[in-house]
């Protein structure tokens, strides 16, 4: 039994028994992560009539994502995995989006805010480059790539995690992926008198 959580865009949770999706809850509110996270988790559990203590794996979307909400899902996932004593798996969300597609050559982008995109390229399901931050005007440079622009959610994260775990792909990295430094520069300290 695997519970997947994602707060890289909206807030969502999904429950898998092997490859079978048992239940899924999604809210596209881009700001209500802290408010919605517990409800999403408890609802997927109750919809499938599954108790939290029967979960065996937790998977979480680790970004990249532009919102501070990304951390809510990861924090909840870490606490769940600690509290339940089960393993935590990190899913780079562009991998999860790519996995949901069938195109041979893919450029996956998500909104990075500030007029930029998070991007990664895939060939036959294998990541060629990324994740990185790109300027939207440069997407045309990826000749031969099918351009997919969509958000991740727990369903995609969970499906990818189930497949990855079965195929021995390492999902051990659970730290958030930001791709940008904290938006701040050291202040030089200024004079107060003219």
């Amino acid at each position: 039994m695997l519970l997947s959580i994602d707060t890289s865009a909206g807030t969502s949770a999904a429950l898998f028994d092997g490859e079978k999706l048992l239940s899924s809850v999604f809210s596209d509110d881009p700001f209500g992560h802290a408010e919605n996270i517990a409800k999403a988790i408890t609802e997927v559990l109750s919809q499938a009539n599954v108790a939290a203590n029967t979960l065996e794996e937790i998977a979480v979307g680790i970004g990249p994502a532009p919102y501070t909400g990304l951390r809510v899902g990861i924090a909840a996932a870490k606490a769940l995995s600690g509290g339940l004593g089960v393993s935590l798996h990190g899913v780079m969300v562009l991998d999860a989006i790519a996995f949901s597609r069938t195109e041979a050559r893919l450029l996956v982008t998500t909104d990075a805010k500030r007029g930029e995109l998070f991007a990664a390229g895939y060939l036959s399901g294998k990541r060629e480059f990324g994740p990185k931050v790109i300027d939207p005007s440069t997407t045309t440079e990826f000749v031969g790539y099918e351009h997919v622009s969509e958000s991740a959610d727990a369903e995609k994260v969970g499906r990818y995690a189930v497949w990855a775990l079965k195929n021995g792909v390492d999902l051990g990295e659970t730290r958030a992926i930001y791709l940008r430094s904290p938006d701040v520069t050291p202040s030089p300290g200024k004079r107060v008198s003219g």
């Binding site: 707060t7 209500g32 992560h33 802290a34 408010e35 919605n36 996270i37 517990a38 409800k39 988790i41 408890t42 559990l45 108790a51 939290a52 203590n53 501070t68 909400g69 951390r71 809510v72 899902g73 990861i74 924090a75 909840a76 996932a77 870490k78 606490a79 769940l80 600690g82 509290g83 339940l84 004593g85 730290r175 958030a176 930001y178 904290p182 938006d183 701040v184 050291p186 202040s187 300290g189 004079r191 107060v192 008198s193």
Partner: protein, 493 residues
Amino acid sequence: MQLRTLSIEDLPQVMDLERRLFQNEAWLEQTMATEIISGQTHYVGVFDVSLLGYAGLKVSGPSYSSDVQTIGVEPTSQGRGIGRTLMIELLAVAKRQGSEEVFLEVKAGNESAIALYVSLGFEQINVRKRYYQPSGEDAIVMRMPISQPVVLGIESTCDETGVGIVRGNRLLANALHSSMDEHAKYGGVVPEVAARAHLEAFTPTLEAALAEAGIGYQDIDAIAVANGPGLSGALMVGIGAAKGLAVALDKPLYAVNHLVGHVGADVLERGAVEVPTIALLVSGGHTSLLLVRDLLNDTQLLGETIDDAAGEAFDKVARVLGLPYPGGPQIDKIAAEGDPRAIRFPRGLTLPKDLEKHKYNFSFSGLKTAVARHVEKLEDAGQEYSKPDVAASFREAVIDVLLTKSIWACEEFGVKRLLLGGGVVANARLRQEAERRCQEAGIELRIPRFSLCTDNGAMIAALGSQLIMDGREPSGLDFGAESTLPVTTVQTA
């Protein structure tokens, strides 16, 4: 029938019943009066038209225990469950006050009373021979254990990731991770840096707290988390973690106020909350003066800073003096060599014209500017100046305003107790001067140990525990981060 707390007005009725019940073993009126008005006791009575029964409990915070002092029921009303009602109320008070056990003594021959106590969960632990005089009857000593909740508290309002664990009012663990060093190069707390650090620090801090308390996840009865006031992105990490833990363990979750948490921290030092008190909370994020009449029900914000927090002023002035972040310890260090009266820096919002609107508010931004002007003027003129003197004079101005207003509040509201909290309490001069001024004004000064003064998870756990002991319902699962949560909201529903 009505059950209520007794006041001194009830004394004649209580004494009338006491004398009829206990005759030559009855308490003196003076003894009863002292008991009823004492801050360490709780006396309750059951009334219809007149008093039908009364009982009293004495709570000892430091020993986490309570003693049933007396209980008496009108002879004609015995057998109606009045004794049981009174005892249940006293046990609820004992639980609420953080007691882990309740003791009582009963006459060996009073079989119906002993049966009542046994039915409530008391067990005989001792016999005191010939305890009651002049009858010479033996006393049976009985004890009842009270199980207090184990609460895990999560703090992430600013740059400290804290996980604390308490059992009732008893501290079991207080693990902390600070991201202060990561903010040093920016000269102040950067919200995004703090939030990132919380996420990395959460699991190690949680595990450290469990190890320190020597308990496992299965021993936790409830989770508490500070959901404000604080930095929104930082708060969200703690909230996400708290919700994940609550769902994983299927335990109730309490969203509590960080500032009230600071006031409640003292409970872990003395086993009980002592109110009323004035509380001065000073840190890099807050400078607040509170009047607390009841920790859970009656906390009033008297004033707060209208610009910089006191700790922020220390950081900014440290930078003016070319000292590294955080500024507090740096300024404290060099100020030790300086003359606090060398320069008379302004005391913000203390002029007569300010008092009407800002008697209990603070302002430190003008002070910081005055220090900067002073230094720039001397530097421009190529003059040597004493950094220790500037530091000591600045520090004195901050401390003077903080304490002057705190003591005004103690006097105006007739509250002879002052509690200090927040990171700035680390300042040795603040503590020393607070002690001097409070002693002079006859005010009891409370300063919890430093690890309970700075932001920490134990104070959040302690406040959650207080709410549980008081019988409050848990918060829902859908609360969010409240960066400007008012101090009057102790718990978010």
